[in-house]
Amino acid sequence: MSLILDTLHLSHNGEAHLDGLSASFARGSLTTVLGRTLAGKTTLMRAIAGLQRIDSGTMERDGQAFGTLPAWQRDVAMVYQQFINYPHLNVFDNIAFPLRKRRLPEVDVRQRVESVLSMVGLSNFAGRKPSALSGGQQQRVALARALVRKADILLLDEPLVNLDYKLREQLREEFRGLLTSQSDGTVIYNTTEPAEAMMLGDRIIVMHQGRILQTGTPAEVFERPANTLVAGIVNDPPMTILSGRLDHGRIVFDGGVELAASAHLKNLPHGLYRFGIRATEIEPSEGRGIPGRVTFSEVSGSETFVHVETPFGEAVMQLEGVHQVTDGSQIGLSLAPERLFAFAADGEGALLRAPGQGEN
């Protein structure tokens, strides 16, 4: 283990941004931190970088405490959401800046900058000022400046969030290649998008309100979300959570809607639960299923998202293709019982059973 964070606390104006957060990061690994806006992801990075002071806790790297080092001695590189470059320097000098700061021989500087420039595909733009580049190119420069140092810790704070959709997809591909080539550094990548986290990370940390809710591989987090909050965060659109009862092998919602519980839920004790289901696994049904009223629907690309208000909670249904759904119309939802997650009815709603789990 290379980087170990132990019970970090940080509050600002009486508001806790990091609330006893502990985590560890291995060398040569890429960890994505997934969480909604204001979950404390940026604060975490700023604390690691030394740009914000933690109130308590320790940070250790290779067995050495580094939480007390000033930012300029930490060997941490960072890429911001905003495209931050030095406005008065051209692309080449921007990227060369950290190397020259370390007094590397100019020959090495030239060679390393040129190699990074070609990695990010900006070899023809070396003489330009950042302001003469597009947003995507500016962010590539920022990434190049972070990569060229081969820093011990590389932090990326939602680097693609300010780019348009197409460019984001394309850069995400590029970034994956570039970041995994950083073999012996620790890379941490903040994102609000589950798809991005799944695709990039060896490991995902799910954060909420300054705390870590779950750590695991993309598959673990996606297939076994630790609780309802995680289930909401790692699914886009968020997982639908409905309150119901398990009674003699039946899932019962108040008002007489019942489903036969599938095998994985059968041996759970009777009682109250929260049942979760992904948007893709809900289908409209005529007259049967869970009754609800459409609050609004949105078409995104080739999919339609239908938001439905039911007596048991808000539901989001994802339909393939473009559908016309009238707002306010009544609709029935049919759920695939074998795709249901069962969460505890109380507290944070800890995961009790996921699809395909505990059948024997």
């Binding site: 030394g50 002071r53 933690i54 109130d55 308590s56 939480g67 007390t68 080092l69 000033p70 930012a71 300029w72 001695q73």
Partner: protein
């Protein structure tokens, strides 16, 4: 816990400037307060103790309070005229006018010139028989006027020079404000069919309220120190007709050498100015920003 390095840098940025200012301003100020409690004058120089006798004297010094009143009238009067003129000029050369850059340069010139030096020139202009002021007015059948030798005309002359000198400052701040305004509200007003007058009162003026308050307050602060113009143009005369607080204190302190008394006058002057200017600034903010917020 923390970044030991940061503390060091944090203070090395601020402290040099802070300490220099503190040393150059604070000690003299404290010293003035001490001197104001002494009877230091030409006969008995030195820091003896006179208690509050100077202040008691200030209280009944009619000439001082007249000078304060006169100064307030001058300051408020000239600043208001400067504001209206400066705003009008800024609007005139804001957009679509030929040679606007040349006019802008011309309009800025007076604030760049040295006030006392220009006052010397103005003094020749106001000369009753040899100056052009009466000559030009004579062309339209007015005058000749005793510019610097009659009380009312001397006041007018001083205020005219102040307006000439400092209208450009208002003009500069307001034009900078106008040039930084967003375009959208004006487009919206144009789409609504608002004429120039309505656009001004509903869009331009409200958007410029913060700049206006800043400019007026800065000018009031500077105008509350009026004294050099008076010194050169009229020496406070005729009689004491144009004497301002600063000039009166100057006469008491550095000409009559009643240092202790002058010090107590200047502390009184300073306190009144701070109080009045704070009240005015707060009132302006409350009236113009409080209401629209």
């Amino acid at each position: 816990m923390g970044q030991t390095g940061l503390r060091f840098y944090k203070f090395s940025f601020l402290l040099p400037g802070f300490l220099v200012l503190l040393a150059i301003i604070l000690f003299p100020l404290l010293f003035t307060i001490r001197v104001s409690l002494s009877g230091w004058d030409a006969i008995a120089p030195g820091l003896n103790w006179a208690g509050l006798t100077n202040y008691a004297h200030v209280f009944s010094d009619g000439r001082f309070w007249e000078a304060m009143l006169r100064l307030s009238a001058m300051a408020v009067g000239t600043v208001l005229v400067q504001y209206v003129l400066g705003f009008a000029l800024a609007l005139l050369v804001w957009r679509d006018i030929l040679f606007r850059r040349i006019f802008r340069v011309l309009f800025l010139i007076p604030m760049m010139t040295t006030p006392v030096i220009m006052s010397v020139i103005w003094r020749t202009i106001f000369h009753e028989s040899l100056g052009p002021a009466n000559d030009v007015l004579g062309l339209i059948g007015l005058g000749p006027y005793p510019w610097l030798t009659s009380a009312n005309f001397a006041m007018a002359a001083v205020m005219l020079v102040e307006i000439w000198q400092w209208t450009p400052f208002m003009f500069l701040l307001l034009l900078a404000g106008l040039l930084s305004l967003p375009r959208e509200p004006f487009l919206a007003a144009a789409i609504d069919g608002a004429g120039p007058v309505r656009t001004f009162f509903n869009v331009t003026f409200p958007l410029l309220v913060p700049v206006s308050i800043g400019a007026v307050v800065i000018r009031l602060i500077e105008a509350s120190k009026i004294m050099e113009t008076v010194y050169v143009l009229t020496s406070g005369g005729p009689g004491t007709a144009t004497e301002t607080a600063g000039y009166y204190i100057y006469i008491k302190g550095l000409r009559d050498f009643e240092i202790g008394y002058a010090a107590s006058l200047s502390i009184t002057y300073l306190v009144i100015m701070i109080v009045l200017l704070t009240i005015i600034a707060k009132l302006l903010v409350r009236i113009f920003i409080g209401r629209s917020a």
